[in-house]
């Protein structure tokens, strides 16, 4: 068992920025008066989209909308989905692939991952391709890439994928908001670590590692403690590595408030960077999310084996008991995850007046920490 020690924190504010699309609604109709009303409708849609910070579309490669990040608009954007499909397939017919379109201050990025097309309309051009990749991986985590590729073959090209994704709009929405809110995790494929005393973190990690190791569950590969969309500790078997993108998918999943009860969850999840055809089974629990306590920490234990529920339940019991029995640790830990402190500039030993803030990214662990600004 190997232990990775996270080392910092960040919480970038800001968020919503971009604007809606302003491209031509009609592909190339030349008529004027007989579609006046329709053009008015189209204009109304664009005016509305303009108010939105940005707009994301997911559609089938044959033009059926699957997801838009502003649910209210779904009806309005049905024609737009067809138009996006037309743009993409037209370029494809030339043996090319459409990547971006720019119109004044609007940047439109496309990603065609058969059988889906992803599109984002944004005011800022930075990392739009990565944003769409993240969305693709988010969908894969629900269905797996191989199931996604087969579903239209099995059910027909006209299949409405929303039926299979029912109930997961929330996860896609929160994934989008999280990369909008903390682009650093997206841009550098990094993970934010919650600030803790090094000794406390050491105790947490070693407790998790020893409990998992002792259980000798062949196929139980990772244990992760998550709080406030950041990691407190991660333990893993030596041979296996979890990619930050996959970790962010997990963080997104456990941050979903409907899971946060004192119940235990057993969720199949595909982590596409690890393996895009198969599913992990995630044992997800919020050990201190109950009437007496309100410590917003989440313990995730990942196994490739479907029948590991009872085994991991016992591992969880071991970990929780050991952590609670160390009352000094538990007090500090509760404090750290309840009200995380940002790193201070003084912590890096600089008294320079001109240093306002720092951000540290560890290249090998992909963990990032950021100071409060002065």
């Amino acid at each position: 068992m190997e232990v990775e020690v996270p080392g910092g924190s960040e919480a970038v504010g800001g968020g919503g920025t971009d604007t809606g699309s302003e491209s031509s609604f009609k592909v190339s109709q030349v008529e004027i008066e007989d579609v006046e009303e329709n053009l008015k409708n189209a204009e109304a849609i664009f005016e509305h989209l303009e108010q939105l910070p940005f707009q994301v579309f997911i559609l089938s490669e044959f033009g059926k909308p699957i997801f838009v990040n502003n649910d209210r608009n779904e009806g309005e954007v049905v024609s737009l989905a067809a138009l996006i499909c037309a743009f993409v397939s037209r370029c494809q017919s030339w043996g090319d692939s459409l990547m971006t379109m720019t119109s004044q201050d609007n940047h439109i990025q496309f990603l065609h991952k058969s059988p889906l097309i992803f599109c984002v309309v944004s005011k800022y051009p930075e990392q739009l391709d990565q944003q769409l990749e993240v969305l693709f991986e988010q969908i894969c985590s629900i269905l797996s890439k191989s199931q996604l590729e087969n579903v239209y073959k099995k059910k027909g090209d006209n299949y409405d994928l929303r039926k299979l994704l029912r109930g997961t709009d929330r996860l896609i929405d929160s994934s989008i908001s999280s990369w909008r809110a903390s682009p650093i995790n997206l841009v550098d494929s990094s993970i934010s670590a919650i600030p803790m005393n090094p000794s406390d973190r050491e105790f947490l990690s070693s407790t998790m590692a020893s409990s998992m190791g002792a259980a000798k569950l062949d196929g139980a590969l990772f244990g992760i403690m998550i709080a406030k969309r950041q990691i407190a500790a991660i333990v893993r078997f030596k041979k296996y590595v979890i990619h930050p993108r996959d970790l962010n998918i997990l963080i997104n999943l456990v941050s979903d408030t409907t899971l946060q009860t004192d119940a235990q969850n057993w969720v199949p999840i595909c982590l596409p960077r690890f393996n895009d055809t198969g599913f992990f089974y995630a044992y997800i629990s919020y050990p201190w999310c109950n009437k007496e306590q309100d410590v917003p920490a989440c313990l995730v234990l990942l196994s490739v084996k479907r029948d590991h529920f009872d085994g991991l339940k016992e591992v969880r019991h071991q970990i929780v008991t050991k952590l609670e029995n160390n009352s000094k640790f538990f007090t500090n830990f509760s404090q750290a995850v309840k009200t995380p402190n940002l790193y201070q500039i003084s912590q890096i030993g600089s008294n320079s007046e001109s240093l306002w803030s720092f951000l540290y990214l560890n290249h090998s662990s992909r963990q990032v920490c950021m100071s409060a600004s002065k």
């Binding site: 592909v27 008529e31 033009g63 027909g156 006209n158």
Partner: protein
């Protein structure tokens, strides 16, 4: 999990010779407008309309294509994934009726639907307001429909808004009935990950800046 049922969405495509009134039919249906002025559709045109069928709201995503071959460029993405295909001809133009076979064949080849013999087509004979110039009788059109597996036939007039509403409603009802036949919408049993330690352990970090 939220149980909210989304509006069903049907992709409807309209095919037929240039000038038979595909765009006019669509504009009549979606915008309730008609213009005598003819303008060729370049490429394709997309419109949307919601209809209520029984207790469900259905969104029709209507793909209007260019009848003129020189503008046909969307290829298979246009045809594939369609829930219904509307074939249109001009009752005053016998040639447009004769083309129906090739439009239907073209659709079946390009879209390659799963059950081509029972794919929902609808035939619209447009411009029935020009009765004195009629070149294709209703009977002739109906017998063509019978040979193609009883395709429903509607005589319509985009100009006078005759039967257009009823025809599209029938289209939606038919396609929706087929759509709801598919009951198994659960994901398959998830595949298990087979661990191969030799292939793992490659930390592929993205950026090296």
């Amino acid at each position: 999990m939220s149980g909210t049922r989304k509006k069903a969405l049907l992709k409807v495509i309209i095919l037929g010779d240039s000038g038979v009134g595909k765009t006019s039919l669509m504009n009549q249906y979606v915008n309730r407008r008609f213009s005598n002025q003819y303008k060729a559709t370049i490429g394709a045109d997309f419109l949307t309309r919601d209809v209520n069928i029984d207790d469900r709201t259905v969104t029709l995503q209507i793909w209007d294509t260019a009848g003129q071959e020189r503008f046909q460029s969307l290829g298979v993405a246009f045809y594939r994934g369609a829930d219904c295909c509307v074939l249109a001809f001009d009752v005053t133009n016998a040639a447009s009726f004769k083309s129906l076979d090739s439009w239907r064949d073209e659709f079946l080849i390009q879209a390659s639907p799963r059950d081509p013999d029972h794919f929902p087509f609808v035939l619209l004979g447009n411009k029935v307001d020009l009765e004195s110039q009629r070149a294709v009788s209703s009977k002739r059109a109906q017998s063509w429909c019978q040979t193609k597996g009883n395709i429903p036939y509607y005589e319509v007039s985009a100009k006078e808004a005759l039967n257009v509403e009823a025809a599209f409603l029938a289209i939606a009802r038919d396609a929706l009935a087929r759509e709801s036949q598919e009951t198994n919408d659960f994901p398959e049993f998830p595949d298990q990950i087979r661990l191969n330690p030799n292939q793992q352990n490659q930390q592929n970090s993205g950026c090296n800046c």
